[in-house]
């Protein structure tokens, strides 16, 4: 059992799901698609969610202070500052 938090299209929602905390990323992403399609993630029900919606997402796994497991399926966050263009900053 783990708490799975999913952020999709700016909406963040989570559900307690019976999955192995060590489930591989690819399998976890497939499970997440099925959960969202079937409405098992409160606040995030998309029946027509495409199969490969989470291909470029990141999976974070943490132990909670209470001894539980928490998994985050989230978009990549490469940016801290916006310095675009050909002379884009290294900072």
């Amino acid at each position: 059992m783990a708490i799975l938090n999913i952020t999709w299209n700016g909406i963040s929602a989570e559900a307690r799901v019976a999955i192995d905390h060590d489930l591989g990323d690819a399998d976890l992403k497939r499970v997440a698609v099925e959960l969202i399609r079937s409405g098992e993630v409160p606040g995030l029900h998309i029946a027509s969610l495409p199969e490969r919606s989470f291909d470029h997402f990141v999976v974070d796994r943490f132990d909670t202070p209470e001894g539980g497991k928490r998994i985050f399926l989230r978009p990549k966050v490469p940016f801290g500052s916006a310095a675009p263009g050909p002379t884009r900053a290294g900072t």
Binding site: T7, S12, F72, V77, P78, F79, A82, R88, T91
Partner: protein
């Protein structure tokens, strides 16, 4: 002696959070300091915490001037690129490092130095589409690579409201650490802010 908060990268998130920490020198005996080698361009006024007189100036220097001229707050500026050769000197004496960099290489360099020097480090990062962001302490953060090198975000300022929200959450995390030594992680999306 004031506790130094060193903002590494003062673009969108770094500059926004820094401005929202201007209360700290008076309230929490802190000193704000900034590292950034980049210069303020016109397009930066739409998504970063700079005003028109900053155009053309180094971002670290511009932020220092703004804090002094607009708020009477003194700070320090280092108009250089943080590199392996100067990280020790720049970070020396810092009570807290704040990662506002926009690329994995700089984030990694800063994190490696923080761990080596045993300095607290908080990261802030956002998705390219401006719909999601994280504030995480280094113990639970790993940098995400860009989808492509030099990938741009927010040239038009369209994500400014989200940058404001994420910058404010970062400022909250910084202030909680300085006041109570608390290390709070946050997940920020368009549906709200969730402490994680």
């Amino acid at each position: 002696m004031p506790r130094r908060v060193l903002f590494c990268g003062v673009g969108a998130l770094g500059s926004t959070a820094a401005l929202l920490c201007r209360n700290l020198p008076a309230e929490a005996d802190a000193e704000l300091a900034f590292v950034d080698f980049d210069r303020v361009e016109a397009k930066n006024l739409r998504a970063q915490g700079f005003t028109k007189p900053a155009l053309g100036k180094n971002k670290a220097e511009a932020l220092k001037l703004q804090l002094l001229n607009l708020y009477g707050v003194r700070s320090e500026a280092y108009p250089v690129r943080l590199e392996a050769t100067n990280a020790s000197a720049l970070c020396a004496g810092a009570a807290l490092l704040v990662d506002g960099f926009d690329n994995a290489a700089s984030r990694t360099l800063l994190a490696e130095h923080a761990r080596e020097a045993n300095l607290p480090l908080v990261h802030a990062a956002m998705a390219a589409d401006g719909s999601f962001g994280l504030v995480r302490w280094d113990e639970r953060f790993r940098p995400d690579p860009e989808d492509s090198a030099g990938q741009a975000t927010c040239e038009t300022g369209e994500h400014l409201p989200f940058i404001g929200l994420l910058g404010a959450v970062l400022a909250r995390a910084i202030q909680d650490f300085l006041r109570d030594d608390r290390r709070r992680d946050f997940l920020v999306s368009l549906s709200g802010v969730r402490e994680t």
